[in-house]
Amino acid sequence: MDDAVTTTAYKQEYERLLKPLMRIAFGVALHLTRNRDDAEDLVQETAIQAFRAFPTFQPGSHFKAWFLRILTNLFLNKVRKKQREPEIASLDDAPDLYLYTQVTLSGWKKGNQDPATQLMERIGTEQIVAAIAALPEEFRVVAALYFEEELSYQEIADILDCPLGTVRSRLHRGRKILQRTLWELVQETPPGAALPQTKGGN
């Protein structure tokens, strides 16, 4: 009976910690896998692996970071099995403040509306997801953690087990590439076109 009580309490505690993370975990998984079905599978697989490793989790430590570390490791291990050669980021960086410059030069400004809001009115949520998905893997992994959850560079470095400087440089460069991709997507969308915004609308 003691074992059954312990096991039930163990499972309840695990589920109590895990349930609030579903949105973040699915968001990160979606950016990593670029596919909703694969993202679901990755979250489910992570949930099982983390459950098995739960006895090693230190109560009071950062469950979210611990869980996201398992999730990203699982993803990276799968990717490394599939590809012998790492994905090489050959994309040219956009200049600094790329979107700010493009919006300023575009002559969109109307009234006192803030230019970032004007820009975002032309960008759908699915386009943001597509732009993150288009990032090369080394930048995408960092960006997925950064955009889905306001983690510090140190927290991201701990999750990925890499130096803080690596997180900083990949994030800075990833943002530049993302800005260029977002602008290209905006250019493909006629002004006033209805944009898919997913559940919740725009």
């Binding site: 700010y100 919006v103 955009f147 919740g200």
Partner: protein
């Protein structure tokens, strides 16, 4: 010491833009960036744009719907593991 020594130029402020938005600067660097922004409207607009863009991207991503059956799948699988 001349006070101007403590002021960042536009270039010095802008190279710290990302770290400033991400709260990764030291208190001294934050103070110097903000002193620069008080006197430079061009940089204030640029910092404001990037800050708003980042906030809106994050806000949009929170709208991504999590598949409703995902949690159910997970709890069922966990139950099976134990039995």
């Amino acid at each position: 010491m001349l006070p101007i020594i403590n002021l960042y130029t536009c270039k010095e402020a802008l190279i710290r833009l990302d770290d400033y938005l991400d709260r990764e600067l030291s208190p001294e660097e934050i103070r110097r960036v903000e002193r620069h922004l008080k006197i430079c409207h061009h940089c204030t607009r640029k910092f404001g744009f990037e800050k708003e863009l980042l906030a809106q991207i994050r806000e949009r991503l929170t709208r991504l719907d999590t598949p409703p059956e995902l949690w159910e799948r997970i709890t069922h699988t966990l139950a099976e593991i134990k039995e």
